[in-house]
């Protein structure tokens, strides 16, 4: 699904799975179930996954702009959408940022809807003005939304046209953040997918590790130090900190995903010759050690060397984690579908913090990216894919877990019903990967429990 046009044509063809999933699990649930009925499908092992369809309470992919624009510092994100999209971006940013940030919305008006020709003209005008005003922009992303897709505005075409007009001064790319195609963090996947075709070709015979998925700079630097100490020959990150520093890709590229929601990007990179290293995600000590270990193995680095390099950080992390483990052990937790981080986080909380998993919901299950994680989950787990909000809340009220991980729209109402909650968005925005953040990650779950305990009423 790297091709935008095939994306917009997907609307005409019901057979195309909305979430960009490959064959397999995603398709089983879609379409056949009337809402509320749980369809069960067998996963590897005897882990069962139940599919649901209905009302959703989750951001669309536009939300990804909030962290992507901070990460890629010379990129600008122009959403072509409605007032709703503009409003969402402001609210998703947590605060209303009215200083001119590096994202904006070109709001489609009545006239644009009437004629695509006018619409393209208007877009060209907006972009030309923007680029004239902001010479600091190196890469411009045109971001498709639900309305732009429904009226079949071809942004990929527009991007090519605008790039030509800029004569190479600015790179212009298009991707979809629409709620029709993307759920929350999936907007990063579509964005990075759009970058894949413009990545430079790696020199033949050059082995390199490419870490995939946005990480906070501080975490990226920690990983960089660890991989360098291991002697990985060449190391890159996608997305890069600047759009002008794109990592090369080729047959020598080994892909290591740092985030579970970049499946389409991984697939596109594999098409360009890269090989994907199957690994769990670097959450907690165990996850981070395995993540680094599998990558090292792919480069023929010995287990002893990995142990020697990671031991100090892992030891430090164990000390930090111990304090929180005591407070989490035995507590029951449920995840509502939101960020795609649910599975690796649940695994960390269960295996390293001793929590009991009640229900783990994911917006969609991308088996290409979750293999190693699923192996680590308990077989009896209630794992649900998709969402039918009201029924999920009914189950939650019946379960009454000690802690519920959910989106911001649900947190206060659930607290008012006496449930303790953790906002999932904080897990996306905070540095939580790696050894040195393992304790911080656990602390994010301890805090709401702790607060509940302190307050007299």
């Amino acid at each position: 699904m790297t091709d935008m046009r095939s994306r917009s044509q997907a609307k005409a063809s019901p057979a195309c799975a909305a979430n960009g999933l490959g064959a397999g699990i995603g398709d089983q649930g879609a379409g056949q179930l009337s809402a509320g009925q749980l369809g069960a499908g067998d996963l590897a092992g005897n882990l069962q996954v139940q599919h649901e369809q209905g009302q959703r309470q989750v951001f669309c992919g536009l939300a990804g702009i909030v962290w992507l624009h901070r990460k890629i510092q010379d990129a600008f994100f122009l959403v072509v959408g409605s007032r709703t999209c503009a409003h969402l971006l402001q609210s998703a940013a947590g605060v209303m940022i009215f200083a001119e940030p590096r994202f904006a919305t070109a709001v489609l008006g009545d006239r644009d809807l009437a004629g695509l020709a006018d619409c393209n003209e208007e877009l060209d005008r907006v972009v030309t003005e923007l680029l004239a005003r902001r010479p600091d922009i190196g890469t411009l992303f045109l971001v498709a939304s639900c309305p732009s897709e429904v009226i079949k505005l071809d942004l990929e075409n527009a991007a090519e046209r605008l790039a030509r007009a800029q004569q190479g001064r600015v790179r212009v790319l298009a991707y979809s953040g629409s709620g029709l195609d993307t759920t929350f963090t999936q907007g990063e996947d579509t964005c990075l997918s759009a970058l894949v075709p413009v990545l430079p070709e790696a020199a033949a015979g050059s082995d390199a590790l490419l870490v995939l998925g946005t990480l906070p700079d501080v975490v990226e630097d920690q990983f960089r130090r660890l991989f360098e100490a291991l002697g990985i020959p060449s190391l890159h990150f996608l997305p890069p900190r600047r759009g002008s520093e794109l990592p090369p890709v080729g047959p020598g590229t080994r892909l290591l995903a740092a985030q579970p929601f970049v499946g389409d990007t991984a697939a596109a990179l594999i098409d360009r010759g890269a090989t994907l290293i199957a690994a769990p995600y670097p959450f907690g000590i165990e996850g981070t050690r395995a993540w680094i270990g599998v990558a090292a193995e792919a480069f023929g680095i010995s287990a002893e060397r990995v142990e020697a390099v990671t031991a100090p950080a892992a030891k430090r992390a164990a000390v930090g984690l111990e304090r929180y483990r005591a407070q989490l052990a035995g507590k029951r937790i449920s995840f509502l579908p939101d960020s795609q981080l649910e599975i690796p986080l649940a695994r960390f909380l269960q295996r390293e913090c001793g929590m009991e998993l009640v229900e783990v919901g994911v917006p969609y299950l991308d088996r290409r990216m979750m293999g190693a994680e699923l192996d680590w989950l308990p077989a009896a787990l209630r794992l649900t894919e998709g969402q039918d909000l009201e029924r999920q809340l009914d189950r939650l009220r019946a379960d009454r877990p000690d802690l519920t991980v959910c989106g911001l729209g649900l947190a206060n109402p659930l607290e008012a019903e006496g449930l303790t909650t953790k906002w999932s968005i904080e897990l996306v925005f905070s540095p939580v990967h790696g050894f040195d953040q393992a304790a911080d990650l656990a602390e994010l779950f301890v805090r709401p429990l702790n607060r509940r305990e302190r307050l007299a009423f």
Binding site: C60, R83, N412
Partner: protein, 516 residues
């Protein structure tokens, strides 16, 4: 969004929106910003790409059926968000054909062209029309019936600015004038309550952005007169009571005389002399802006240097108000345009919405919030109305607080060389941070705070004349809170006269020219 505000304000009303999954973010405005303990009563069809090829109308029907079953609403609002509208499934017509027991109110909002307030106003109007269908105007006569006159308070909504406390304050105010409140809507009302609207002798249009069209309709259909004055500020509150007296046929002079507010005295007290002629810029919804401009000039002695609003529907009223204050109204929903106006005018105080608060913060100008859109801190735990006599007290405090206190301003001028009063010190009542920390934005991080604010202020760096070192030193002696203005004025003065190098003389020439 407007429709959700109405549904969320009321009881027993549910809204079904044909909208994609991402639109459900609207819930968090209620649950996070207003700390609402309940989810707003909205169900989204959450259609996805795969649904578009199939039967989206069936998805609408299914959602409607399940929603009615689960929530059993006593009135159902049915509409579509921008994207839903493009699909042309006409969910409202579908719902009307499904034979539900409760009244179905179709929301026919041309979504792409209109804005939130308009959507809320239309929704409320449609809801009232649908529910009152078939009712006849009453013949009401409080005197003959031996009761006090009764009024409906119309226009308060969820996510509105201080609505909760305004309703309480206006209820008190009317009580003091001998008027009972029949009901308040949409906030707090149920569909059954709306059926009782015709039982009131008159309506009070508290928030014209939401309730004016409904008030006009009720006047036409039910012969209910309505009170048009919005009681924000001491003068407007008195005018409000006078108008209530006229409309209800009662004498409200005793209530006016008994009104207790500290604003007039605080404003006359000597410490407030420093407020004289403070240059203020006002932006927000139309009614709050018009009210604020009157308070600023008549009750606090400020000078209005600019006012504007995003409420295009009230452009005429705004222009009239602007004319009264000798400025031109800025009617725009482009925050960049508002920001440019603020930088250009360099006011000493900005009264605005959350957006202007950000703009003012970046420009280092004190600011108070007077209108929605709002932020979580605009839902205070304490009682803080804007309307009525207590509202005037609240306004005095919140507008004056961000400014330097009177005596303090003089002390700083006298002791400006002292450590405690050096340039970096903030007004003592604003906490102990450095000025730089106070103006650093909480929000956006390096990308935005690093941007120079002067770039947009209309006089680019290339046009700026150079400062002689001596003039620069002299400039430093001017208190920091007026220094920026002095610098700008001097540069403008020099540029207009073609002076290439600014000397101490130019500085004082400019000062004499512009005055304080």
């Amino acid at each position: 969004m407007g429709a959700i505000r109405i549904a969320a304000s009321m009881q027993g009303v549910h809204c079904v929106l044909h909208a994609p999954q991402g639109d459900s973010y609207a819930d968090l405005l209620f649950t996070m910003i207003a700390r609402s303990a309940k989810r707003p009563p909205v169900t989204y069809t959450s259609f996805q790409a795969r649904d578009l090829g199939a039967d989206t109308a069936e998805l609408v029907r299914k959602t409607l059926r399940e929603t009615v079953e689960r929530f059993q609403p006593r009135a159902l609002l049915v509409g579509e968000a921008c994207t839903g509208e493009l699909l042309q499934d006409q969910p409202a017509a579908l719902a009307q054909g499904m034979g539900f027991d409760c009244p179905v109110v179709p929301l026919e909002l041309p979504a792409f062209t209109r804005k939130e307030h308009w959507g809320a106003s239309e929704t409320f109007h449609q809801l009232v029309r649908t529910l009152l269908r078939g009712q006849q105007p009453r013949t009401l006569d409080p005197v003959a019936e031996g009761r006090r006159p009764r009024a409906n308070l119309l226009g308060a909504t969820a996510l509105g600015f201080r609505c909760r406390d305004d309703i309480a304050e206006v209820t008190k105010l009317l009580d003091s004038a001998g008027v009972d409140v029949n009901l308040s809507a949409p906030a707090g009302a149920s569909p059954e309550d709306l059926l009782r609207i015709p039982e009131a002798d008159f309506n009070v249009c508290l928030y014209p952005e939401i309730a004016q069209s409904t008030c006009v309709w009720l006047e036409r259909m039910f012969k209910q007169p309505w009170v048009k004055t919005v009681p924000i500020g001491v003068g407007a509150t008195r005018d409000f009571l006078i108008e209530v007296g006229e409309v209800a046929g009662i004498d409200t002079s005793a209530a006016i005389a008994a009104g207790r507010t500290r604003l007039p005295w605080f404003s006359r007290s000597v410490d407030s002399t420093y407020l004289t002629g403070k240059r203020v810029f006002i932006f927000g919804d139309a009614s709050h802006v018009i009210a604020a401009a009157r308070i600023a000039t008549e009750e606090l002695g400020f000078e209005v240097v600019g006012l504007g609003s995003y409420s295009r529907e009230f452009a005429r009223e705004l222009r009239a108000a602007a004319e009264r204050h000798g400025v031109e109204a800025l009617i725009s929903d482009d925050y960049l345009e508002v920001e440019a106006a603020v930088l250009e005018l360099a006011p000493e105080l900005v009264l605005g919405t959350q957006m202007e608060r950000h703009i003012a913060k970046r420009a280092g100008i004190p600011c108070a919030v007077i209108s929605s859109p709002v932020h979580v801190q605009d839902f205070p735990a304490r009682y803080a109305p804007q309307m009525g006599f207590e509202g005037a007290n609240v306004i005095f405090d919140t507008w004056v607080h961000p400014l330097m206190m009177g005596l303090e301003e003089h002390l700083i001028t006298m002791f400006r060389e002292d450590e405690e009063f050096n340039d970096e010190a903030v007004a003592s009542h604003l906490g102990s941070g450095k000025l730089t920390a106070a103006s650093a934005d909480t929000a956006p991080g390096p990308a935005t705070t690093a941007e120079p604010t002067t770039s947009a202020d209309g006089m680019g760096a290339d046009a700026a004349p150079a400062w002689e070192p001596e003039a620069e030193r002299e400039l430093k002696k001017i208190p920091f809170f007026v220094r920026g203005k002095a610098r700008r004025n001097t540069e403008r003065y020099a540029a207009e006269r073609g002076v290439a190098r600014i000397t101490v003389e130019t500085l004082y020439d400019a000062k004499a020219y512009f005055g304080r």
